[in-house]
Symmetry: C2
Amino acid sequence: MDRKTTQIRRHRRKVTMKYRALAGLFIAASTTLVAWAAVRGTGDLGIIIERTSGSITVVETTQHTVLGRIPGLGDLSHASAVFSRDTRYAYVFGRDGGLTKIDLLEQKISHRVIQAGNSIGGAISQDGRLIAVSNYEPGGVRVFDSETLQPVADIPAIHGAGDAVSRVVGLVDAPGNRFVFSLFDAGEIWIADFSDRDNPEILKLTGAGNQPYDALITPDGRYYIAGLFGEDGLALVDLWQPQQGIRRILPDYGRGEEKLPVYKMPHLEGWAAAGDHLFVPAVGRHEVIAINRHDWSEAQRIPVHGQPVFVMARPDGRHLWVNFALPDNDTVQVIDASTMAVVHELKPGKGVLHMEFTPRGEAVWVSVRDTDRVNVYDTGSFRQITAIDVEKPSGIFFTARAHMTGL
Amino acid sequence: MDRKTTQIRRHRRKVTMKYRALAGLFIAASTTLVAWAAVRGTGDLGIIIERTSGSITVVETTQHTVLGRIPGLGDLSHASAVFSRDTRYAYVFGRDGGLTKIDLLEQKISHRVIQAGNSIGGAISQDGRLIAVSNYEPGGVRVFDSETLQPVADIPAIHGAGDAVSRVVGLVDAPGNRFVFSLFDAGEIWIADFSDRDNPEILKLTGAGNQPYDALITPDGRYYIAGLFGEDGLALVDLWQPQQGIRRILPDYGRGEEKLPVYKMPHLEGWAAAGDHLFVPAVGRHEVIAINRHDWSEAQRIPVHGQPVFVMARPDGRHLWVNFALPDNDTVQVIDASTMAVVHELKPGKGVLHMEFTPRGEAVWVSVRDTDRVNVYDTGSFRQITAIDVEKPSGIFFTARAHMTGL
C-alpha cells in the first residue's frame, strides 16, 4: 500500500466518520422527537369524525386538546369507530366500505382496505383479534384480522330460496367472541360465533319482523334489541339463551298508524341503560320512552323538546343526555333518571350531531356541526369547560370503548 | 501555529469526532430502545403485586407477557392500586404508608412519598386529579395531587368529644369528585366532596354500626355498603341522597351468635354485581350470599367449597369466580349467576390470593402465591391459556380500572 492510498483512505475514513457523527446525532434527535411525540398513555385519547373532509381529529380528554389530524379516510358520513384492546389503534368504518386502522400514537393511517361498496358500521371481537363490518352493498358481513386487516371470513347473508344477499345492520360484538347482526331484507338476526376463528358457527334466527334497521346490545352483553323500520315493535334476543329465538317486545314502539313524519330515524346505539330502565328515543314523537328492564314493558313516556336522536346515559346512570333531529338540532336536554323529568337544557348551536362522555362521566363532549366546534361540558355543573375547533364534527369516540361490550 | 500543534489539534479533532460518532450512535441506539420500549398503547397493561419482595411486575394482557419488574415499593402486604386516567401511571398503596406512582411505559418509579405510618388502600378522583389514601396510623385520609404527589388536603377523622383520630377503611371514589370512607373506631361514614378542590366539603354520617372494616361501591357509583366487624348487618348509603343517612341492611350478615372461626375476613371490594343481585362472601360460612338489589333483602345462600374471600363477577355478569380462605385456598369455584349453582371448579395450586378479569372478560388472571405463578384462564372454556412466573404474586390490577368508578 503506497502513501497516497493511505492518505485517501484516511480522508475517506474521516469523512465517513464525520457523516456517521452527523447521522448518529440526526438519528438521535429524530428518534427522540418521535419518542416525545409518541410516548404517552392512550387511555384518555379519542377521535372525532370530520364528516365532510374525510378526516379524523385525534384528541385527549385530560387537558381537552387536539393532538393531530389525519386525512384520507374517504366518505365518513355515518362513520363509526372501535378501538384495539391496547387502545393504541382506532378502526374507522366509512360509508364507502373503507375500513381504516389508525395509529393514534404515530398519528397516521396504519392499514386501510376498501372492503365493500357501502357499509354501515362494525365491531371488534371480545378478544380484540377480529374486526367485523356490516355491509349494504354487496350485503353480508366481512371479518378481518385486527392486526393486518387481512380477510378472515366472509358471511354473505344469503336468505330465502334464491341467492339474494341481505343488507346487514345493527352489528355488535357479544361475549364469547360472537358477532350479532340483523338482516334488513330478510327480517332475521344472526349470531356468528368465532370462538374457533377458523370455523365460525352461525346461528340464524328468523321472524325478527319487517326491516330491522339498527340494534343495540345491553352493556352486560346479554340482550340484543333491534328496531324495525317496516313495522312497530322491537325484536329481542337473549344471548344467554339464543336457541329460544326472537321475542317481540314493546308493540307500540315505532311510527304507529299515523305514519308521523320522521326527520331522522333514532340511533339505537344511543339507547341508554340506567338503573332499572332502558331509555329509548321515540320514533317521530317528542318523547323519550323508559322501558322496564325486567319485563320489557313500557314504563313511562317523558316529554322532550323535539324528536330525539341519541339518548345517552351518563356513565353513572343518573342523567340522560338527549339530542334532537331537525328543526330542533340546536338543543340538548338532560333527564334525571330517577324522577324522569328534564332537569336542564343547553343550546350548544345548530347541528348537534353526537355526544360522548368521558369514561367516568365527569365531562361530555358535544359535536356542533354548524359552528365547527366540539363543546366540552362539566356534567355536574353543566358549565362549559372549553370548545375545540373541529371541521364539521360528527361522531366522537373515546378509547375507553375498547373495554366495553358492544361499543 | 506550528506544525506540532496542528497535528495535535487534528488528532484531537479526530478523536473528538470518533467519540462524537460513537456517542451519537449510542444516543441513537439507546433512544431508539427507550422509544421501542415505551411507544405502545397502555390499555392492555397491568401490574401484579409481589408481596414479599416489595416489587411489582408489569404485564400486558394481549400476548400475556411480563414487560418488566420494578422494585423498591416497601411493604406491599395488602397493597392495592389505582390508575391515572391516561392509563400510563399506577398508584400503589403500600401497607407501610408508602404511596408510589409508577410509570408503566418507562417502567420506573416516577414519584414516591411515605404519607403515613400504616395505610389500607386508596382511590383516585373521578377527574383523575386527586389521590386519596386511608390510614390506620395516624388515622384519617390524606389527599394528594395525582401529578406531583404534593399534599392537597388532610382529613384527620377526628370523632367524638376529644381529639381521637379514627382509623379509616373502605375508601372509594364516587361520582362528583367525591371520596367516601368509613371510620373504624367511630362507626361513621364520611363523604368528602372535592368538586371545589381547595374547599372540600365533608358530610359526616353517624350510626354505621360497630367497627366498619371494609366497603364497596356499586359499579354505577350510587350505593356505598360497609361491612361490620363488631356486629352483624351491613351499612348502606345512597349517594344520590346522602342526606337520608345510613340504612342498616341484611341483619343476618356476619359471624352471628355462634362466633364462627373466621380464617380471613372477606374482601368487600370483591363483591359482585350481576343482573338483579349482588353476590357477597359470607363471613365464616361456606356460602356465597345473593342479595336482591331492589330491596336489599337476602335472596339466596349458595353453598361453596370453603370460606369465600373474593367473589368476582365476570364483566358480563354471567359467572362469578370465588376463591377461599385457608385451608381451601388452593381452589377456585365458578357460579352461574342465573342458576346460582357452582358450574366449575379449578385447583390452581396453594395460595390463590387474587383474581382479575381482562376488561371484556375473555380471560381471568389468578395469583397462585405458593407456586410463584399467575395462571391465565379462558373464561369461556376454562382452559388454562398460560402461566406467568411472578414471585409470590398477590393483587392483580389492570389499567382498565382507570375508567371504572370505585376501582
